[in-house]
Symmetry: C2
DNA sequence: CTCGCCTCAGAAAGCGTTTTCTCAGGCTGC
DNA sequence: GCAGCCTGAGAAAACGCTTTCTGAGGCGAG
C-alpha cells in the first residue's frame, strides 16, 4: 500500500511510487548520479516537480553525517563587532552552501561551554568568537569542538586556527598619533576585564609607555558600550588627560556625547579616539579618529579557515593576524596647553 | 561484536554495551522516562558520564520530527533593525531551548523564497522579516512555510500572524511635532522602494497632508543607510524644507553629518528626525529626535507567536501592532523664519 | 553459441535516535 | 494454587535519506 505522506509532508517514497521506481533511484537522480537511464531520470524529475518534492535535510544529514551548517558562539549579539563578524561569516559560508546557527552567551562564560558543545553537535564546525572562558577551560574543550576556529583568542590545543587582531599595535599607533599632536597626558578607558582583546590593548600600552617614558598614561576602568563612555566623563576629566583612548568606538561615542553635554569641545579641549571603525564612526560629530579593523573580513576569513578544516585540507595558515589601520578624523587635534589649568 | 564508535563519535550503542543494557533503555534513561529500574538507570547514567556521551541531535531530530531550531530570514544583516530583531528572537528562543538559524537574502527577493524554503525544512518554524517579495509570491509560499510569523508585512494567507509597526502613525507623530515647532515646509527622505514599511510611512504622510493642507511636504528619493542621508544633502537644501523626516535613524545620521560638513546647524537651520530609535540615536550630536520602536521586543514577540504555532496552541492574537513613541531630543527645534530666504 | 563482463535498477543495510510492540517474570486476588 | 494484571526491559520498527550489495539483462568476445 502507498504510505502516502504519513507525516503530512511528501517524501522520497511518494516520488518513487509516482515515478514507478525505487527509493534508491529517486535518491540517485536527486543527487545527480549519472548511472541512471536518462528516460527514467526525466520521469523521476517530473514526478519530483509535480509533487514539489524537496529532500528532508535531517534525513540527509543523518545519512551523510554532515549538516551543511556551521555554528558561531558570540559573547554578545548586541555588540556591533560581533554583528559584523557574523555578517561576514554568514555571507562567506552562504556562498559555499552553508548556513549559520547562532548562539549568544550573553557574556556568561559558563553558558559558553554548553552552548558551544550543543551548537557543535548540530553543525559541521564551529567559530568561537572572543570566548570569555579561561585559557584552561578553552584548551580542555577545544579538541571536542573541532573543526574549530577561534577569533580574537588563541589556544594551545592543536589544530585550532586563530584569527586575531593586533590590538596591541593598534593602540600604540593611536597613542603615537596623540603624542605627535602634542598630547603628553593620555588616558585609556579599558574594556571588559575578561576580554582578551582588552588585555592585548593593555600590553600594547605597556610597550608604549616603555618607549615614551615622558608621557603619562592613566588607566581607567570601563566596559564596552555607550553607557560606559558616557558615564566615564567625570573620571576622564579628573585624570587631567587631554588625549583619551577609548576601548572601542561605542565607548568613544558615549564619551564624546557626555563631554558635549558638559560643554567641552572635542577636539578643542580633549581629543578622543575609538577602536574598530564601526560604520557609525565616520558619521559622529566630530568624526571619530579610530583604528580600523576589517571586521567583516575577519568573519569571512573565519569561514575560509573552517572550510579548510571541514574539507580536511591542509590548512597552510594556522591562523592569521590582522593589523588595524589608523584612521585619523576630526575627533583628535593639537593638545591644548592650558588644559592642566582646567584640571587644577 | 561491539561496533565501537564506527563514526569516531560515541553513540547510544556504546553506552548500552558499557551499561549492559539495550539501546532502548539508554534512550529511556536519557529522556527521563521513569519506567526504568532506578539501579539500572544509575548504571546507565554512570556509563554515559564516563563515556561523555551526548545524544546526536540529528538522529534525535529525525526520530522526533523536530529540530528545536527556528529560522529567520532577513533582507540585510547589516541593518541595525534586523540585528535587533534577531537578537530579541534569539534571546527569547534560547530561553525555551531553541536555536536560531539565520539567512541573509542581501535584498535579493528571488533569493528570499529559496532561502526561506531551505531554512524552513531545517527548522521547526520560520520568521520572515520584512520580506521584499511581492504580495502574490508571499501569499503563495506562506502556507508551505508554516509555522510562520511575519514581521513588518502582512499576508492574506491563513494562519500566519504578523507583527507590524505602525510606521504610518509614527511618521504622522513626527510631522505633527515639527509643525508644532513652526515648520511649514517638510521633506521626507524615503526608504527602499520595495520596503513595505516605507509604504506605510508614505501612507501616513498622505493622511498627514490631508489633515494639514497648509503644510508643504516634499518627497525625496532615498534608501536606508548612512550614505543615502549623506548624499541627500543637496536635494534636501534644494527642497527648501526646514523639517526633514528621514526614513530611519541611519539616514538621519548621514544627513546630519552632511549638513554639518556644509556648515549648517541642526536644529538651528534645519530640524532632522529619524525613525527606530536605534541605540546610537541618543548619542549623536545633536541627539536625534526619532520615533522609538521596541525592536528587540518585536523579535521576542515573534518567538512567542511562533512558539504558540509550533505547540499548536490557540494563538489568541493573530498578530500585533506596535505604536512607535515619539522621542523628542535635540535635533529638532523651532523653525527659522529666514529659512526661505536662504532658499530663494 | 556460450561465457563473462558490464550496466543499471531494486533490495536492503545503514546513519543514531525514539517508541511501539512483545514478552518474561512477579504479584494480586479469588 | 492459578488466572490475569502489571511492571519493566529487550527486540524491532520507524524517522527519511544515501549507498553498498545483489542480481537481472544485454552485449561483446572467444
Amino acid at each position: 500500500m502507498v504510505r502516502k505522506s504519513a507525516s503530512g509532508r511528501i517524501g522520497i517514497a511518494d516520488v518513487a511510487v509516482k515515478a514507478g521506481v525505487s527509493h534508491a533511484t529517486v535518491s540517485r537522480v536527486m543527487n545527480g548520479n549519472f548511472t541512471v537511464d536518462p528516460e527514467i531520470a526525466a520521469r523521476v524529475r517530473a514526478a519530483a516537480v509535480e509533487l514539489k518534492y524537496q529532500p528532508n535535510p535531517v534525513g540527509r544529514s543523518l545519512a551523510l553525517g554532515k549538516t551543511d551548517t556551521i555554528g558561531i558562539v558570540v559573547p554578545d549579539l548586541a555588540n556591533p563587532t560581533f554583528q559584523a563578524i557574523l555578517r561576514g561569516l554568514s555571507r562567506a559560508a552562504a556562498q559555499d552552501g552553508y548556513r549559520v546557527l547562532i548562539a549568544d552567551s550573553f557574556e556568561v562564560s559558563s553558558e559558553e561551554t554548553i552552548l558551544a558543545g550543543e551548537a557543535r553537535r548540530r553543525c559541521d564546525g564551529l567559530v568561537l568568537c572572543a570566548p570569555r572562558m579561561s585559557d584552561a577551560e578553552l584548551e580542555e574543550i577545544a579538541p571536542s569542538l573541532r573543526p574549530l576556529v577561534l577569533i580574537n583568542r588563541t589556544t594551545a590545543a592543536a589544530g585550532v586556527p586563530s584569527l586575531v587582531v593586533d590590538y596591541g599595535q593598534g593602540v600604540q599607533d593611536i597613542a603615537e598619533h596623540l603624542v605627535e599632536l602634542g598630547h603628553t597626558r593620555l588616558a585609556f578607558l579599558a574594556g571588559p576585564p575578561r576580554s582578551a582583546s582588552n588585555n592585548l590593548r593593555l600590553q600594547g600600552l605597556q610597550a608604549f609607555k616603555a618607549a615614551h617614558p615622558q608621557v603619562e598614561v592613566t588607566m581607567l576602568e570601563g566596559g564596552s558600550d555607550f553607557d560606559t563612555g558616557h558615564g566615564a566623563v567625570d573620571a576622564v576629566l579628573e585624570s587631567g588627560a587631554t588625549g583619551i583612548l577609548a576601548f572601542n568606538d561605542l565607548v568613544a561615542m558615549g564619551l564624546m556625547s557626555g563631554l558635549h553635554e558638559r560643554g567641552l569641545d572635542v577636539p578643542g579641549d580633549i581629543s578622543v579616539t575609538g577602536f574598530d571603525d564601526i560604520p557609525f564612526a565616520r558619521y559622529t560629530t566630530p568624526a571619530l579618529t579610530t583604528a580600523a579593523v576589517p571586521i567583516t573580513e575577519l568573519g569571512e576569513q573565519a569561514w575560509h579557515q573552517l572550510r579548510a578544516l571541514i574539507r580536511n585540507e591542509e590548512s597552510d595558515a594556522p591562523g592569521s593576524r590582522y593589523q588595524p589601520k589608523l584612521e585619523v578624523r576630526a575627533s583628535t587635534g593639537p593638545a591644548k596647553a592650558a588644559r592642566t589649568a582646567v584640571h587644577g
